[in-house]
Amino acid sequence: MLRTDVENPDYFHKVVDCQWACPAHTNVPEYIRLIAQGRYDDAYIVNRHSNVFPGILGRTCDRPCEPACRRSRLDEKPVAICRLKRVAADHKSDIKDRIPKSPATKNGKKIALVGAGPSALTVANDLMPLGYECTIFEKGPQAGGLMRINIPSFRLPAEVLDEEIGYIIDMGVEVKYNTPVDSLKELLDSEVYDAVFVGSGAPKGKELVLPGRYDSDQIFIGIEWLESIHFGHISSVGEKVLIIGVGNTAMDCCRSSKRLGAKDVKVIARKTRKYFKASPWELEDAEEEQVEIRENLSPVQFVYENGKLVGMEFEEFHSQEIDGKLVQEPIGKVTIPCDTVILAIGQDNAFPWIERNIGLEFGKWDMPVVDKTTFMSTQEGVFFGGDAAFGPLNIIWAVEQGHQAAISIHNYCSGRPVGDRPLSSINLTSTKMGLHEWSYSNNYDPSKRQKMRHIELKQRFSNMTTEVEEGFTEEQVKTEVERCLNCDVQTHFTDSQCIECDACIDICPVDCLTITQPGEEPELRTRLTAPATQYDQALFVSGGLKQTGRVMVKDENVCLHCGLCAERCPTFAWDMRKFVINLPLAGDPGAQRQPVTAGVGA
C-alpha cells in the first residue's frame, strides 16, 4: 500500500461518515457543535447552505446519515442527527437577513421550472442570488410538491413548509399557481426561457389490478388518497382499513387512517420485516399508534358481499432465510375483513406533457435520458431533477440534484460546457489550544441516544394536524450533542516527526493504530492491533518511518476522535485537525487544481 494521500479531498471527507453519506453533504459535526454552543442561527445557516430545508428535513428526512454514523458501530445507536437539525430550525431567531438575496440588476437570463417541489425550489434558491429570473409553473394552488400534499401535517406542519419555501420565493421567484405545463414543446417554442428545469416529481401511484379492483369506491391509491385528505376532499374512512404495501407512503396512509376515525388498521406486507421499505423509525411510530403490520401476505382478490367490499383475500406464505435469501412457500389462503383498501405499493413517473418528437430521448421504463452528473437531458437546455430525473427517491436527493442542476444551468447560460464542474477544496486547521487542550469537546460521552417525546395517542387522533413529535427538551439536546464524535476533527499524522515510541498505540481506547511492516491492504488488514474487517472503512498508511522503515497504520473504522493519540504524542506527529470541505454550488468559483481521479486513500 502506498502512502495515503490525505490531500485528496475524498480521504478525510469519507471519515466524516454522516457528511459523506448525506447526498447534499451537510456539515453535520459542525452544526451539532454550533447547537452545543447555543448558536442555533449559525447551525441553521450551515444546514441551509447544503440542504436548503433544515426544518422540513429535520422532521422528514430519510436520514442516510444515521445508519452511516460512526457512533452506531460503537454504541448501537447513531447520533440523532436528523432531530438535532430540527432543534436548530425550531430555536433559531429571525434569520431572514442571512438568506441570500437576488441582486437588483438581473443577469438577463430567464429560467422556467416545472413543479414547485424540493428540486425546483433548490434550483431557484441557487440561481436567484446570481441574478437569474426564475418562473415556477405549479399545477396546484401551493408550493412544496410532495412535501406538502403527500406528507401528512401531523409529521410536517404547514407553517414549517411555508416558512422555508417562503425564504426562496421571497427572493423574487415568480410562481404561476394552478398552471400545469401541458406541452414542453410549447414552453420551448415560446423562446422566453434560456433553460428549463423539470422537477415534476413521480406523481403517479402504482395500480394493483386484481379481481374486484374497480367494483368499489372504497379502494384508493395511496398518494392520491393522501392528496385528497390534504385538500379536504376526504375526511372519513371505513372502520376497518387495509393498507397494501409497507413503504413510507404506507406508513403515512395507516397513520392518517387512524386520524380519520378508523378503528382497525392493518398494513399488509408481502415479505418479512427485514425487507420492509419503510424506515425503521416510521414503522415504530405506526406501531406505537396501534397499527398492525402483517407479514407474508400477497393480495389475490377483493371480496364482496351483496355488492359491498367486505374484505380482501391473500395468499399466505411461510418464510425462511436460506443462505441469506428469503424463501417463501405458499401455505394457503386467508381473507381479512375490511371496509377500505389503500394501495401503497410505489410510485411511477409520468410525462404525458412531454412530446416524444422534440429531440428529448426517453429510455428504459419510459424515463427521460438524463446525464447523472449534469442532469441535462438529450435536449440541450432542458434539465431534470428530483423524482422526475431517476424515479422516486427522498427529499434530500431532490435537493442535491437541484444543486447540481443549478451548476449546469449556470454553466449553460454562461456559455461554458455543462460538464465543467467546479472543484472542491479542503482546509485543515489544528484544534490545539494547549498541551492537552483542544478547541472541540474531545471526551467520549457514554450517554445513550435520546428518545423523541411524542404527544399522547388520544390527542394525536383528534385531528390531522397535531404534530406528533414534540422535539427534544433542552436537557436532551445537551446530552445528544455530546454523543457526536466530531469525526471532522481528523487525526493528522506527520511521518517525519514520529519516533515510534508506541504511546499513541498504547493509549488508543479502540485499538485503531498499529506500527508495522508495510504490506498490501488485504494482508495488512489481518495483522493490525484489532482486525480491520469493515472493508468500506479506509486504512490510513503513513510513509516509511525514519527509525525502522515501518509504517503507521490507522483503521478509521471506530476512531473516537478523542485526541488521546495526539495528547500522548511527544513530537506532535499526531495532531487533531478540523477538516472543512468546500463543495461549490452554482456561481462558486471552485478550487484551482487538477481534478483527482485516483481512488480514495491509497
Partner: protein, 351 residues
Amino acid sequence: MSYILKPKVHHPSLQKNAVGLTRRDYEGAISTLCAGCGHDSITAAFIQAFWELDIEPYKVAKLSGIGCSSKTPAYFLREAHGFNSVHGRMPSVATGAAAANRELVMVGVSGDGDSLSIGLGQLCHAIRRNVNLLYVLENNGVYGLTKGQFSASADPGSTSKKGDINSMEAIDGVLMALTLGATFVARSFSGDKAQLVPLIKAGLSHKGFAFIDVISPCVTFNDHEGSTKSYAYTREHQLEVIQADFTMPQEEITTEYAPNTTKRVQLHDGSVVTLSKVGEDYDPTDRDRAYSHIRELHAKGETATGLLYISPDSVDMMDQNEAVPEALYNQPFDILCPGSAELDKLQQRFR
C-alpha cells in the same frame, strides 16, 4: 497529562481471555508521565502479558519504590494489590510479601535510580535469595523526576540534554544480576513489545527471581543525540541474541524453529520457553558464557537483548527454606504457633 480519562468504550472485536476478562480490564489509571515515555509502553506490555496469561488481577501484588518508573504500577491492573515503598526498599517489602503469601503473583517495578543507586544493596540481596518475583528495571539512564541528572546506568561518554559528558563507569544491571546468581536474566526495549511481552510472561511464570532490564527512553531528558538510551540509539545498537517464545502449559507449540539454533526450557508450572536465534557459541543456560558474550557485544558497541540467561533448576527462597507449599498467611493458628510446649522442646535441642 491528559484532562480526560481513557474512555471505557472499546473495539467491537475485543476478546475475553480464559477468566472472562478483556485486555481493557487489566488497565489502571491514565498515565501522568510525559507523553512518549518508554515506561508507558512497558505498562502496555504488562497489561498484554497478564491478559494473555489469564491471571486474575486480585491474585497479583505490584510493588515499587520511588521514581517515574515506580509510579507505573498505578497504570495497570487496577484491581491488583499494590505497595509503593520507600525509595530503594521495594525488594525488602517484596521479600516479606513473598514470604507471607507465596501464592501471589509478584511483580516489582523499579528504575535505574531506585535499583542501582539508593536501592542497590536491596536488589542484590533479593537476587541472592531468589525471591519469587518478576523484577522489571525500567532503565532510562537519567533521574527524570529530578530533571535529568546522570543515573548509575548512564554510559560513560554519553551526554546530558545540556551537553555535559558523563565520565563515570555505568552499572550494568544484567551483568550484576548474573554475578549475583540470578536465575532468570533478560534485557529488552520498551519500543519492542514483540520481544518484551513474551519475556514478561516467562518472567512471571519463572519460579524465583526474574530480572528484566528494559531500556525505556526518557523522552524529556534522555532522547537526544548524545544519549545512548534514546529511541534512535537503542534501535540502532540493540542486538537480539536470543528470541524467547513463551508457551502456556495447556498450549501446543505450533511455531516451527530452525534446527540447531533452538533450545527449550520447561518452567515449574509446565509452561515452556523456546529460545531461538541462539548462536553456536552461546548457551543461555551457561552463566559464564552468557556473561562473556554480553561483554563482548558491549565492547563492540552493541547491546545484547533477549532472555540472556535462565537456570532450569531454580529453587526459590521459600523452597530453600523448606516452607510449607501453601501461603503462610492462610495457615491455621496452631500450625503457625505450635504453643509453648513445642517451643520448650525446640529449646531443649540447643542446651
